[in-house]
């Protein structure tokens, strides 16, 4: 169980991100406790993926701070963040097609390898030892853990969608991250695959001690496995707390279902018009 008294492993403070005049994120703040499963939910276009891209370093926020284990990483490029221990998966599977499952997973280790070209040519010993350690590490842990032993030499392009998602997660795990960011890990999966993936996510936290931050639409899964849910709407955090609290929050219900009150909608539209 997450230790709420501990320092947050990831702090998002007042992050603002604008594309031209569109504010994708507007003063977003929340914290991720170490060892927790934190989910970010929200209607389409709420800014979830923008938030993910900002945390992993693909976008630079216009304002605000991102801190990882107390360290300021707002201006750090993505590869540096990966080395620090932030791994992510993508909403649309971003595997290296044309390579095998094992090659993909090996690439996950890339950020931890230090031998350069001269080493590879002249200090074969060190490169070799590293290679052996790398293989053992990967084979023993990631592949067994995610139950993908039978497909390790298969080209990823030939795998089913669900398996590809799992390989993507394996690749991220091979980075030995502190925080694993999953962008819609069960999108497009049937119920059985979703349950498998939920089990893997829980096991990753349990066995590897990895903190999980995920974006997901599957409300059932989010409420089942999360410790902490952050709700985004129009780039702002509208609710933040335990699943049960968030579910009962009137703002959240309104964001997802509308208020159901036509008069109030009219009044809001009118307010918006006079404000503009």
């Amino acid at each position: 169980m997450p230790d709420s008294a501990a320092n947050p492993i990831l702090e998002i403070e007042n992050v603002t991100l604008a594309f031209g005049g569109v504010k994708a994120l507007n003063g977003v703040s929340f914290e991720v406790a170490p060892g927790s499963i934190t989910s970010v939910i929200g209607p389409n276009g709420a800014g979830k993926t923008s938030l993910f891209n900002t945390i992993s370093g693909f976008y630079r926020p216009g304002a605000g701070h991102i801190r990882f284990r107390g360290e300021e990483i707002t201006r750090l490029p993505a590869p540096k963040r990966a080395k620090l221990g932030l791994a992510r998966s993508f909403q649309n599977i971003a595997l290296f097609r044309g390579m095998t499952v094992l090659d993909n997973i090996k690439l996950g280790r890339h950020c931890h390898l230090h031998t350069g070209i001269l080493d590879a040519l002249f200090y074969y010993g060190r490169a070799r030892r590293e290679e052996i350690r790398l293989r053992a590490d990967i084979e023993e842990r990631v592949i067994d853990f995610l139950e993908i032993d039978h497909i390790r030499h298969a080209p990823v392009a030939a795998l089913s969608y669900g398996l590809q998602k799992r390989v993507e997660m394996a690749r991220a795990l091979a980075m030995e991250p502190q925080v694993l960011m999953l962008d819609e890990p069960v999108a497009g999966m049937n119920r059985e695959e979703t349950e498998d993936m939920a089990r893997f996510i829980l096991d990753v936290r349990e066995e590897w001690g990895v903190t999980i931050l995920m974006v997901e639409h599957d409300m059932g899964m989010v409420m089942d496995i999360s410790d902490h849910v952050v709700v985004l709407n129009f780039g702002e955090v509208i609710a933040d707390g335990a699943p049960a609290e968030v579910q009962a929050d009137p703002e959240v219900i309104r964001a997802y279902l509308g208020s159901g009150n036509v008069d109030e909608l009219r009044r809001k539209l009118h307010e918006a018009r006079t404000a503009a």
């Binding site: 992993s56 370093g57 693909f58 490029p77 993505a78 590869p79 990966a82 080395k83 791994a87 992510r88 993508f90 971003a94 595997l95 290296f96 097609r97 044309g98 390579m99 090996k106 690439l107 996950g108 890339h110 950020c111 931890h112 390898l113 031998t115 350069g116 070209i117 590879a120 040519l121 690749r171 980075m175």
Partner: protein, 295 residues
Amino acid sequence: MMDFDWLMLFEISLAGLGSGGLYALAGLAFVLIYKATKVVNLAIGEMLMMGAYFFFAAASTMGWPIWLGIVAAVIGSGILGAVIERLLIRPMLGEAPISVFMITVGLSSILVGLVELIWGADQLRLPDFMPSDPVLLGEAMVSPKIFYGFLAAAVLIAGVLLVFRFWRGGVALRATACDQAAAYSMGIDVPRVFSMTWMVAAMVAAIAGIIVGSISSLSPTMGVFGLSVLVVVIVGGLDSVPGALIGGLLVGLVESWTGTYLGGEFKLLATFSLLVLILMVRPYGLFGTHEIERL
């Protein structure tokens, strides 16, 4: 009626393979850039030319020994490649492929202009450094420049392929070629991969340029060689290294045959007919993947 001269055909074919090796080398430089950065580099012929002129400056003007001249030319070209990437290509990241393509068209004019400003438009001769005794393969005689040029090209190609096969940077290159965003999030420094590729490609092109320049001569029109290289890589498939190698040998052979049996003016006609034929059968080149840009 005289018998067909098989020995002559053999000699011509060897000469064709010889110049094909150089096409393959230049094609390799092109494919490296295309694979990693998805840039269709029309200035490949001019990058070749720059390498040859750098060699001229070091070995003839400065009077340095040949080996030092080659090293200097290769290093100079590497720096030039890195500068080109940083100043012209990196700012165009995420722009339409056709815009980047046009930039390389402009780049080729700039390089030609530079050469004319510094060295003038006249033909220059590179110092001779290859053995001048004709080489005998069985009964066939091969021009020494073409023979040693081919040898050098083959060794260099093998070297580059080995490095990219076994060095981890080669894996980074393959990953970047596959999916830039994923590579970036895996801790691969994608901008560095970009500049490394341009550097290596410029260095490979420089060596091809030095060999081509010493087989014929040095002039600002040397970049026309790039036109044949373009045929080579389109025939082979823009993103395929084996395609560039086989395409290079194929184009070299066809040019050599037509040049001898039909006359030099048919060379370009023959290579471009080959191009049209192959594109009709295989629109993505012999070994190209199907998503690649069609030009």
